[in-house]
Symmetry: C2
Subunit: 260 residues, 2 copies
């Protein structure tokens, strides 16, 4: 039965999608894990990031499954052209769905109930979350064994990490759900902005010490260019600093979570 990993961060643009996509590809290609990538963000950027490597062909949507009864994301699993990687795409109705599910009993647990059959078929599920700590992110967290938190080199992103850890604490106390922090990933690390980078890295270390991943994701234009071309970074340029770092991160996370 699959381990489930949520990629979440309150701050916008810190690299959640870039991390979820390239980590999932690395799990499949380099760690030999049957991987399911699930896009829980109505922006649909996971599908865009792999646009040239998968085809969305369904009338059923993730919103239908979340709001339905006895349904499972299993119905929505699409193959990709990357061996070992499957995808559940998001849909444009997800933002509205977040509002609708707010009225449901146990609104935080709808995804957990709809992921059981899919979990039987994979080794790991990676969930990309929207830039907030709302109901969709809560659903991802309660459906997950662990949470990976991308954090860029800004004091704003660090504030977002603190807020997310507060939410994880509330889930533990009030809803009795334990989601482990797989790690806080320093992202968009720019050697040209040494002063800011040093200040943020020190802040992360002081606040969360051993929760901070050893692997840092550097600024690497290949990551942005690959996303623009709808291709994962390893197929775009496996020698780029971004590709090397995400491969390393996959290995570090696979070890931390005993995925293989």
């Amino acid at each position: 039965r699959a381990r489930v990993l949520a990629v979440a961060a309150q701050k916008g643009g810190v690299g959640k999608t870039t991390t979820a996509v390239n980590l999932a590809v690395a799990f499949a290609r380099y760690e030999g894990l049957r991987t399911l990538l699930l896009d829980l963000d109505g922006q649909g950027h996971v599908g865009a990031a792999l646009a040239s490597q998968f085809t969305d062909g369904d009338t059923t949507t993730l919103s239908d499954v979340l709001l339905g009864h006895g349904r499972d994301v299993d119905e929505l699993v699409h193959p990709t052209r990357i061996a070992g990687l499957w995808l559940v795409p998001s849909d444009k109705g997800l933002a509205a769905t977040e509002g609708i599910l707010a009225g449901r009993i146990g609104k935080e647990f709808l995804l957990r109930g709809a992921i059981r059959r899919a979990r039987e078929r994979f080794d790991v599920v990676v969930i990309d979350c929207p830039p907030n700590l709302g109901n969709l992110t809560l659903n991802a967290l309660t459906a997950s064994d662990a949470c990976l938190v991308p954090c860029d080199m800004s004091v704003l992103a660090m504030g977002g990490v603190a807020d997310l850890l507060g939410v994880v604490e509330t889930l533990r106390d009030r809803l009795d759900h334990d989601v482990r922090i797989a790690g806080i990933v320093p992202t968009r690390v720019d050697r040209r902005n040494a002063r800011v980078t040093a200040a943020v890295m020190e802040g992360l270390d002081t606040a969360w010490g051993d929760l901070v991943c050893r692997t840092r994701i550097p600024v690497s234009s290949a990551l942005a260019r690959a996303q623009m071309d709808g291709v994962n970074v390893f197929d775009y340029d496996a020698t780029s600093p971004g590709a090397v770092a995400y491969r390393e991160l996959a290995s570090e996370v696979a070890t931390r979570l005993a995925l293989r």
Copy 2:
């Protein structure tokens, strides 16, 4: 009575807050406009960006005002150390508030009703929005005369602009509210990533031609460093490319909206 300008974009991290803050400071300092900056994002990054230049001291919150009856953001106006600039800070409860107001009749119009008295006292109100097209952003749009849309050099950000313009269209048809697009601002323009920049600039021009601002905001580490120090970019380094660009943008937007 003040012109009201929403700074909105669905995509995370494209520079909404950086734009709202520095544009508001430039309106006050260089365009001579009595300016109110309103933080509608529960992340509270406007307050963080000006942390060293204002003091938050209130038991009343923006959530209280939005959910109350007959209240006005007037009650929450704080002075800053920047002559001509006042601030209405956000509060941590805003994310929950977004859920609560979903049940209200005319949920999109709560801010419009709560901004009337404040408008009497200023020349322009600038509203910073969260990274989504949810109820808070809708409240900003219906309270606004115009919307400024930051867009960074990524195909994902462009997709977000298209979604936002779709929402503006729906507000027009269904709710009879006309919010003009003040402009689409190219942000984080990086001369080092020439290929991606050229592709996105061409895409913006093809899709939205004269809606695209003449002023482009370059990547400028002073913008990130100023935010880290809780100071606006003009006081941090007025000669930096970021400061020069935001001053220019303020002039361009003031002209487009006939603010002075």
